[in-house]
Symmetry: C2
Amino acid sequence: MTDQEPNQQLSVTERTRHRRLREQGSTSRDDLDAILRAGFVCHLGVLVDGTPMVVPTVYGVDFATRTLYLHGSVASRSLAHSPDATICVTITHIDGLVLARSVFEHGVNYRSAMIYGTPELITHATAPEALLTGLRTLTEHCAPGQWDYARRPNTKELRATSLLALPLDEASVKTASGPPEDAEGPDGALGLWAGVIPHHTRVGAPEPDPALPPGTPVPAHIAALGAPGSDSA
Amino acid sequence: MTDQEPNQQLSVTERTRHRRLREQGSTSRDDLDAILRAGFVCHLGVLVDGTPMVVPTVYGVDFATRTLYLHGSVASRSLAHSPDATICVTITHIDGLVLARSVFEHGVNYRSAMIYGTPELITHATAPEALLTGLRTLTEHCAPGQWDYARRPNTKELRATSLLALPLDEASVKTASGPPEDAEGPDGALGLWAGVIPHHTRVGAPEPDPALPPGTPVPAHIAALGAPGSDSA
């Protein structure tokens, strides 16, 4: 831009402020916990033979002890070989696609948490009580009430299960939200549509296993998980 | 189980077959491509100072050249330091939470692709044409028609952009679908509810930037992206 209007300095400041609002980091524990509560699948990064491997796996959080439990046999195998390795766990929720007037300003609205740490490998052989605690945490995180409802693991099953426990000590949160930011400046005058295509996770009504005997009631704690039209946090 | 009925051998075989159907790998290019087409955010794993880092980032695929383009400044910085490093890109779609009769058989229905390779770092300085091709691919992957509609990047913006290009050579696909598998065997007689809580990504109607002049029309290619009640693939 060659013409400097007196108000353009203000305009740029305003745009800068908007940018900070759209995409921001957070050190708030509440923000972290909200992201953790809103899902049950993370992407776990481990080092395997010098190469990063990223695997989706189920997680659950014990908010009292600030511990993240992960289910992951592949990761467990890799960590059995390098028990002091640092891992990275990332949880991301997509909220929308941001269509700006300029390609450069396009983006995604999201909430994401990244947790680093050295996990503890929990097995029936080394820590049977901790394994049960972790499995209960995982189960209750995904479906509150299910630990008391479903049949709990027997010894044979526990021997075939391993978990990772990771303290929620080193975590960072990043989010982006709101409309695109190029309304001000010359792009705002292009007459182009701009806005957000929202994405939501819709949790549907429970679908019974076709093998269930007819008339098997849906317990209240399962009915509460999903209903037609309900959205997750 | 102590009582061995003549049909239990068949029953176990049947269960084994079900398990293979529920959770399976695929080497089909069509299965890979369907997973790639169904989203635009991946989790990128890179090695930073010896530690795996997993970052969510936008991707787009050129299916003609079998190239995955990634947007990621953090990753680009790390790769500028180790240009021959292998990265791992994982794309995961969550389809449901599987509630079985036993805790051990709980799981998640999902579709996931994992791609390994050594990416090419694409910048305006080193490959200006490839950078434009990659940006067009990314933009059209997320919102077909948008590259011709929005203002394309100018030189200043291109200098501030870098992409990674990764060939789709080494990819693996894993999916899980269907109901839980413990209907047969003793757990089936417990009288417990079992089934799936379905999860869908719902793409909503376009939300205009509040800064848009009233009456700015929604172009057809943007209206086509989302409508009330529409679900993504």
